[in-house]
């Protein structure tokens, strides 16, 4: 884009890594909470949801980035939604074809990927301003971060709530399942626990950096 040269970013490892850690869509930006809480009762569901969302995220971001100079500013949101909905429909039919069981478990949440704010947020805040290559890498990172977050919720909930991981039993037969963990409150508890951990780690890092700056400033 000739008229907006300064908003385009260069491709660095950070373009990808930001989605995993610094701008993790779930643990840092708190976006897309609906599937995060609703379909993470087992690891398989979490993984399927994460991959489906990643596919939609990457492909719609690519298309938005490709069409960014043709989409008029006034109707951009509607255009993004149409693009996203197209890919969601593809995913919807694909999952239905691959595994009807999984399709039933995920329920309406596959169609609801359309309304996932991570995807629309990426389209609006990133893909519409960036070149295709950086968009691809960035949205892959975001999708990986989202999938990772879903997996970390689904893993904890399945281990405690069912005693299994990916459907494989990892405890002796008389394991006592924590039934609350596969119920909706369990989603909130586990999400809260992870957020606590992430915020604590980040605050600690910031404090250390601030101390370092203080030390160097003092040394000068």
């Amino acid at each position: 884009m000739a008229e907006l040269p300064n908003t385009e970013e260069r491709l660095t490892p950070d373009t990808f890594l930001r989605g995993l850690w610094e701008e993790n869509p779930v643990f840092v930006m708190l976006l897309g909470m609906c599937p995060v809480l609703a379909v993470t009762s087992t690891t398989i569901n979490a993984l399927a949801m994460g991959l489906a969302t990643t596919f939609v995220l990457v492909s719609s971001s690519l298309l938005v980035s490709l069409l960014r100079s043709w989409i008029p500013k006034q109707v951009r949101i509607a255009s993004y939604i149409v693009i996203i909905a197209t890919f969601v429909t593809i995913v919807d039919y694909a999952i239905q074809a691959i595994s009807l069981e999984l399709y039933a478990a995920l329920g309406a949440f596959i169609q609801l990927i359309v309304a996932n704010c991570v995807i629309l947020g990426r389209a609006e805040a990133y893909a519409s301003k960036q070149r295709i290559m950086t968009t691809l890498v960035n949205s892959l990172g975001m999708g990986a971060g989202f999938t990772l977050a879903l997996l970390s919720l689904g893993g904890v909930r399945e281990i405690l709530g069912n005693g299994t991981i990916l459907g494989i039993s990892i405890f002796p037969a008389d394991f006592q399942p924590w039934i609350v963990m596969i119920l909706p409150p369990g989603g909130f508890f586990v999400l809260g626990g992870w957020l606590l951990l992430f915020n604590w780690l980040r605050l600690r890092k910031e404090r250390k950096e601030a101390e370092q700056i203080g030390v160097t400033a003092h040394a000068r």
Partner: protein
Amino acid sequence: MDKGIEIRTSPHLKRVISVDKIMRTVVLALLPICAFAVYQFGLSALLLLLTTTGVAMWTEWFFARLSGKGNTLADWSVVITGLLLGLTLPPGFPLWMAAVAAFVGVALGKALFGGLGYNVMNPALVGRAFVQAAFPVAITTWTPAFAPGRFMELIPSTLTLPFMQPNPVKDWVAGLHLDGWSGATPLAIQKFQHIEAPIADAFSGMIAGSAGETSALLILICGLWLAWQRMLDWRIPVSVLAGAALMALPFWLMDSGHYPSPWFVLSSGGLMLAAWFMASDMVASPVTARGVVIYGLFIGSLTVIIRLFGGLVEGVMYAILLGNALGPLISSWTQPRVYGTSKKS
């Protein structure tokens, strides 16, 4: 300074009374109830109380250290939480689950909100609600009171290995050769078979139930002593109990064969303990005199509604948690009019 004149700002409190003194008095009032629980259910109840109190204290210490607050154990409030939690659990409750309850109660119900004075809900009940949702079977497995040899041996489910299902108690109970033991509490028998236990037994505590909630009489005495010491607001327990009795009365008059009598409602289950020691939680209850009456009536009547029409046998825990949640709202509704200002505004 001159002895005769002492200048202070308001409030002009007549007594020197500190938080830790109140809390110590409450612990003192709970001790007879704990002693009766141990007498009734034996070693298992003792270990249960020690576990919940110990884990609650450790959790408090841990989070206080993490947030750089210093030693908050000294205010004794967490001891009350631990004891109350232990008293509300079934005597044979596996110790590892009790530890989970104590940790979740103090961590989630208290420490995350900022410690004593900031908790929205009663921490002991938060812990109990968590294990009720997580382990619904274990928390409704009752063992008989006054089992012979209760001071020599433990209820088998007490020493369950962590993360394992509770050891079955059926064979152990059968080995006791008790007549007429159905594995249900009087409250459950009333709810599902509509047979009331004798009021005298339920009132004095000669029944099965959670470790420390069986003897309504003893709890009443301890609670009254505490109220007489002015360590709790008497309006709260009185209005909780009144709310429960008033709500139960019309149903009993309509069909006394099906619904419990108000006397049975008051003396059974955890209502008495909850009314005196949990609803009266100083932090989680409203602050105005009119407010606590509304709060108490709400809790009492909701308890009876859950008992009569809900899926659960006992509803006082959720009633208090909901009452706690409404507390700030009730407080702001019932703010007294400032003297000299108009009624509207």
